[in-house]
């Protein structure tokens, strides 16, 4: 009797999960369907849901017409370097802000936050002049540096929240054992805040991966383009190859899903680490 009730509520729960997933994924599924329709089905009025036969032409043209793998490589290098820098720099700062005593902490926190309040469009022109003068246009670093800077505020704020949660006793016992500040930070604080660290990493990665404005203006050479700009390159003056663009967006989303699947294991391992503290 009791078992049955559990089962029913379990089934209801799974129905709920599947429903939520369907709603979330529907536009993306539609995008996938779009990417395998024929040109005629794509533009038909009213819309056709399921194509008669699977058409992979768009995928073919995404990789053949343009060096799309190069764009993915560029985006990957820029986004992963940004993530590493951002998480490193931010976790140093957050550790200090969350756990050490020194003057001016609140001022630093608000200064960091204020940076992210300016609209990107206002910053792009002065930054271009700076990048031009230091010869960093059309380089990876020219994107990595500003991306790191503009992902820092979220990273610092988020990590500071997490570092604050970690009980002080753990840190103190380590220090009593003779560990330096750096050692306690690397061995205790950083691993214990793993859910926060990996969340921050994913968020930084995706925001760097998706950035458009700086990438458009700073990196104008074809070989240095990132994915969002590359996708914006598909349309012509009077041409909207929506099939190609749908295929491209599916292609670039899948590596991200894989990365998330890898990272989310880290989040779980952080969970078990978190259990120690309780």
């Amino acid at each position: 009797m009791k078992k049955n009730r559990v089962n029913i509520s379990g089934i209801l729960f799974y129905i709920l999960v599947i429903a939520v997933m369907l709603i979330i994924l529907f536009p993306f599924i539609w995008q996938i369907l779009t990417s395998i329709k024929s040109e005629r089905e794509l533009w038909s009025i009213p819309p056709i849901w399921i194509p008669k036969k699977i058409n992979l032409d768009y995928y073919y043209s995404v990789f053949i017409k343009r060096p799309f793998l190069t764009y993915i490589k560029n985006s990957f290098i820029v986004a992963s370097s940004t993530t590493v820098f951002s998480v490193l720099v931010a976790s140093f700062a957050s550790y200090a802000l969350a756990r050490l005593h020194f003057k001016g902490k609140n001022i630093i926190l608000s200064l960091v936050l204020a940076v992210s309040m300016f609209p990107g469009i206002a910053i792009v022109s002065p930054l271009y002049i700076f990048m031009m003068n230091v010869h960093l246009l059309n380089t990876y670093i020219g994107l990595i540096i500003p991306y790191t800077t503009f992902t820092l505020p979220l990273a610092i704020w988020n990590l500071t929240t997490f570092f604050r949660e970690i009980p002080f006793e753990l840190e103190e016992s380590a220090r009593v054992d003779g560990a330096t500040y750096m050692q306690t930070f690397m061995r205790i604080i950083f691993p214990l805040a793993a859910p926060g660290v990996f969340t921050t990493a994913i968020l930084s990665f995706i925001s760097a991966w998706n950035e458009f404005l700086f990438a458009l203006v700073f990196n104008t050479k074809d070989m240095m383009r990132t994915v969002p700009v590359a996708i914006a390159m598909f349309p012509g003056e009077h041409e909207l190859p929506w099939g190609d663009m749908a295929a491209a967006s599916v292609v670039v989303t899948i590596p991200l899903i894989i990365i998330v699947l890898i990272f989310q294991r880290r989040i779980i391992s952080g969970l078990t680490a978190g259990a120690i503290k309780g």
Binding site: V17, V20, M21, I24, L25, P27, F28, Q31, S44, P46, V89, F92, A93, A96, L100, H101, K103, I108, L111, V112, A114, V115, S116, M117, F118, I121, A122, S125, P126, L127, F130, I145, T149, L152, W157, N158, T161, R164, Y181, G196, F198, L203, I206, W209, N210, F212, P228, I231, W242, M245, S249, T253, I257, V260, Q264, R265, I267, A275, K277, G278
Partner: protein
């Protein structure tokens, strides 16, 4: 306690170490962000239109005075506030629900987590175009679904009417950025010790009661961070609106950032454009202060 620390054999005092740790972040920000920000402030005090380089001059607060008397600015502010409040509120509610779904333990949770992130992983301009197609008055799948379900009698131009255009933009934004909210909140949920819930269950507290007494208070710092950063982004919304409606119909969806963008890069009016950017900055600054007041008052008392 400080004395104990200082006697340890390390070269740096606590505050020295603190400054050292903060230094790289401040260097980045100083190098990259400070100059453009100061520059923008400075330009906003000038009449500076790139078409007329010879007419550039210092005008003090004139640009701000002009802007505050401008109907278009007021319209854009109202649109932006409407967009921000509705979309951030919806995102918080949905984000919290999804985060709790992702935090529960069940088979296929990994898939759920990856799926929930998909919308955020699609580049904004692409997702905006995708929604434009979904809303299309002829070949849009939204019309198809609603007509098949007999919810509306005939196809509608969702982006072509003042009544629905803003709502359509908000839906697209909520879809795209709820994952951001959910992920941040999920990380916050995970550091709440399980034992608290176990103890509450033993005491016979209902799930709702546990949510109110345990989850919400402990999640408050994370909610604060999530709200601040979502609000910052929503208030500066640009790509999405620009691609979906271009500010139309009849400017009913033009946001402050779209207005600033048009002023800066289309009209090449760097004086007014900079002033608009500064105003956006000030608005966001005020909003952040309010959040911090409301949400961190509790935690500082702890």
């Amino acid at each position: 306690m400080n004395a104990v620390k200082r006697t340890r054999r390390q070269g740096l005092s606590e505050s020295q170490f603190g400054y050292l740790m903060v230094f790289p972040a401040l260097l980045c920000i100083g190098l990259i962000a400070l100059y453009p920000v100061v520059q923008t402030f400075w330009l906003s005090l000038h009449r500076l239109r790139l078409q007329f380089p010879d007419m550039t001059k210092f005008v003090g607060l004139q640009n701000y005075i002009t802007i505050f008397g401008d109907d278009r600015f007021i319209n854009a502010t109202i649109n932006t506030v409407e967009f921000t409040i509705v979309s951030v509120a919806l995102e918080l509610v949905f984000g919290l629900c999804i985060a709790m779904l992702m935090n529960k333990e069940y088979k296929g949770r990994g898939l759920m987590r990856a799926a929930a992130l998909v919308p955020w992983a699609i580049p904004t301009t692409v997702s905006a175009m995708m929604w434009k197609f979904i809303y299309n008055d002829q070949l849009g799948v939204l019309n198809d679904i609603l007509v098949r379900l007999h919810i509306i009698p005939e196809y509608k131009a969702w982006l072509g009417s003042e009544v629905t255009a803003m709502g359509a933009a908000i839906v697209a934004d909520v879809w795209k950025t709820t994952p951001f909210m959910a992920l941040l909140l999920l990380a916050g949920l995970q550091v709440i010790p399980r034992e608290l819930y176990e103890a509450a269950t033993v005491d016979g507290a209902s799930a709702w009661r546990q949510f109110i007494t345990i989850t919400l208070p402990l999640l408050r710092p994370t909610i604060l961070v999530a709200l601040i950063f979502r609000t910052l982004d929503a208030f500066r919304v640009f790509d999405l609106v620009y691609v979906l409606t271009g500010g139309g119909p009849g400017n009913s969806t033009e946001t402050l950032s779209v207005y600033a963008y048009k002023t800066l890069f289309r009209n090449m009016d760097f004086g007014m454009g900079s002033a608009l950017s500064v105003i956006i900055f000030v608005f966001i600054f005020i909003i952040s202060l309010i959040y911090i007041r409301i949400l961190s008052s509790g935690s500082s008392a702890e």
